[in-house]
Amino acid sequence: MLVKDVICIFFMLAGFFFFTTATLGLLRLPDFYARLHATGKGDTLAVVLSLIGLAVYHGFSLTSAKIVFIAVFMFLAQPTATHAISRAAFRCGVQPWTCERGVLLEDDIAKQGGEK
C-alpha cells in the first residue's frame, strides 16, 4: 500500500461521505430551497474532493491536469447552477417553507442548529 493510495482513499471516502449527506439532504429537507442548500454545497465539495483523489492516484501527468481543470470548472459552475435554479424559483414566486407553516420547532433546538 503506497502513500499515494492512502491519500487517494482518504479523499475519495471523504467525497463519498459528502455525496451521501448531500443526497440525504436532497431527500429529507422540507422544501426546495433547503434542498438546494444540500446539493449546492455538498456536491461542490464532494466532486472536488473525489477529483483530487483521482488526480493523486493517477500521478503527475497531463491527464491529472485535465482532472484538476474539471475540478476548477465544477467549483465555478456548481454554485452558478444552484443560483440559476433558485433564481427561477424566486422569480416564479415559490414561497420558502417556514416554521409557522410547517412543524413548529422549539427555540432551543433552533439555537443549537445555529451554533454549528
Partner: protein, 154 residues
Amino acid sequence: MTRDSHDVIVKTLARLLMPFMVVFALYVVMHGHHSPGGGFQGGVILAAGFVLLVISHGLEQTRKRMSEKVAEIISSIGVLIYGGIGVLCLILGGNYLDYGTLSKLLRVTPAEARSLGILGVEIGVALAVMAVMCTVFFAIFTAGESSQDDRSVK
C-alpha cells in the same frame, strides 16, 4: 424574450467559459481519430456554446456573432466540404470517400492522406451539425418568427 435577462452571475460565467468551450469543441473535432469524439460531438458542443450565449447574453448579442443567415451559409459550406471531398475521391479514381486516392493530390503517403481526409470530412460534419443545431435552437427560441421581425417576439 429577446431582451437581456440581467443575470450577472450566469452572464459572467458564460463570458468566461465560452472561448474555452469553443476550443474544447475544436479539440474534440480535430482529435476525432485518437480519442472519443469527432464531427458530430464537436458540432454539438459548439452549438451548446451558442445556446449558452443566447441564454446569458440575449438574442441580440448572439446575432452579432451568429445570425440565422450565417448559420444557413455555414451549414451549406459544411455539407459542401463533406460532399466535395467524397466527389474528389470519386474523380481521382477511387470510391466515394476513399481517402487513399487523395495522396496523388496532396503529395503524401496514402496513410497520411487518409488521416487528412478524415480530418477534412470531420470539419465539414462539425460545421454542418453546429449550424443546423443553431438554426433549430433559434427557431425554437423565437417561436418560429422570422429574424427580421423582432418586435413581434415579446
